[in-house]
């Protein structure tokens, strides 16, 4: 069910996300001081190549990582196997990638708002 290839993908995306998660938590602690507004968030992130790459790589890694993680649970807890398991794994990855990509573009693309 989890062969070496999926295991390595899961661990590599985890390693990629380790610094990103710490950065994300740091930004959250900083950003929530004095409340959140759309203008404040977008003022920081829009048009920034750095934040585009930061959150872009985050979204790619988390889509793969979450899809493999949920795949394990769907198999072990709900007994999903074979084609259904493959399909759902790819479906989760595609959904997260699409929604995450849209969010990253919305927040970091310049001149959007």
């Amino acid at each position: 069910m989890l062969d070496l290839r999926l295991y390595m993908l899961q661990r590599i995306t985890a390693l990629v996300m380790a610094p990103l998660v710490l950065g994300h938590i740091a930004v959250m602690i900083y950003a929530v001081q004095g409340g959140l507004t759309a203008e404040e968030i977008l003022g920081r992130t829009q048009g920034s190549v750095f934040w585009f790459l930061f959150y872009g790589s985050f979204v790619v890694a988390v889509s793969i990582h979450a899809a493999i993680g949920l795949r394990v649970i769907l198999h072990e807890t709900f007994g999903l196997t074979g084609l259904a398991l493959r399909g759902v794994t790819w479906g989760i990855a595609a959904l997260l990638l699409a929604m995450g990509g849209q969010a990253v573009i919305a927040v970091t693309w310049s001149g959007a708002a």
């Binding site: 989890l2 062969d3 999926l6 295991y7 390595m8």
Partner: protein
């Protein structure tokens, strides 16, 4: 518990994989008494049709493991006093295996996986060649030695929740055997082992929940052995060896 005045209330699983139920027995309690003694008493004095398995009675052969109060235990070395809840005992066949009858689990899947993980010995030299020297202090040999006291009782296999959820998973005992052979100077098919434990039921399914190590009656550490296999396969993957 003095003499045979006190009685134990023992629920014993009767049946097979396709169906069955717990049957209650009253068994005299003694000062010194193992779970296997209790099961044997039932078979001798209460119901001769009770099926169970044992051989050595001293924790060497690994054939008498059962679920005792929902935990996997070697019944010949488990004293009643240690696991008694009030006066109640519950004895069932090993978890994660088919049941042949009553307390006798079908060990075939367990040993099939042992072989599937590359557990059959492949000598690196023939009998005409000199015996390769084995230094007990060698760090690699120390890794191998850590797992060779496994008696194949299947307690780790019964304790493992990953086995419960994933029937293809090779399980702690088979993977520890593979790790032992991987570190054995006299074993030849090292790459075959890494292939065997890298498949869809291989070592990478382990979640390091450590029930194998917590329950092993011989205090072995299959979880760390499996971590060793993950390390070895990762290293081979990074070198492009897949």
């Amino acid at each position: 518990m003095n003499g045979s005045d006190a009685m134990l209330e023992v629920s014993v699983w009767r049946g097979t994989t396709s169906g069955g139920a717990y049957q209650d027995f009253e068994v005299p309690a003694y000062e010194n008494q193992t779970i296997l003694d209790v099961v044997s008493w039932i078979q001798h004095y209460a119901d001769a049709s009770l099926t169970y398995r044992f051989a050595c009675r001293v924790g060497m052969c690994g054939s008498c493991a059962m679920m005792v109060n929902d935990q996997p235990r070697w019944t010949c070395r488990t004293h009643v006093k240690k696991v008694l809840k009030g006066r109640k005992l519950k004895v069932a066949p090993l978890r994660n295996l088919p049941v042949i009858k009553d307390l006798a689990a079908d060990m075939d899947p367990f040993f099939d996986k042992w072989v599937a993980a590359g557990g059959a010995h492949q000598p690196s030299a023939s009998r005409t060649e000199p015996i390769p020297p084995v230094d007990p202090q060698d760090p690699i040999r120390v890794e191998a030695s850590a797992g060779i006291e496994c008696i194949n009782c299947s307690i780790c296999y019964a304790a493992c929740d990953t086995v419960a959820g994933n029937s293809d998973y090779l399980g702690p005992a088979a993977l520890q055997r593979a790790w032992t052979l991987l570190n054995d100077a006299k074993h030849d098919a090292k790459d075959k082992i890494l292939d065997a434990v890298s498949g869809s039921g291989g070592c990478h399914n382990c979640h390091s929940m450590g029930s194998c190590t917590a329950f092993c009656p011989n205090d072995l550490d299959p979880m760390s052995a499996i971590a060793g296999l993950k390390r070895a396969t990762t290293r081979r993957f990074l070198r492009g060896g897949r």
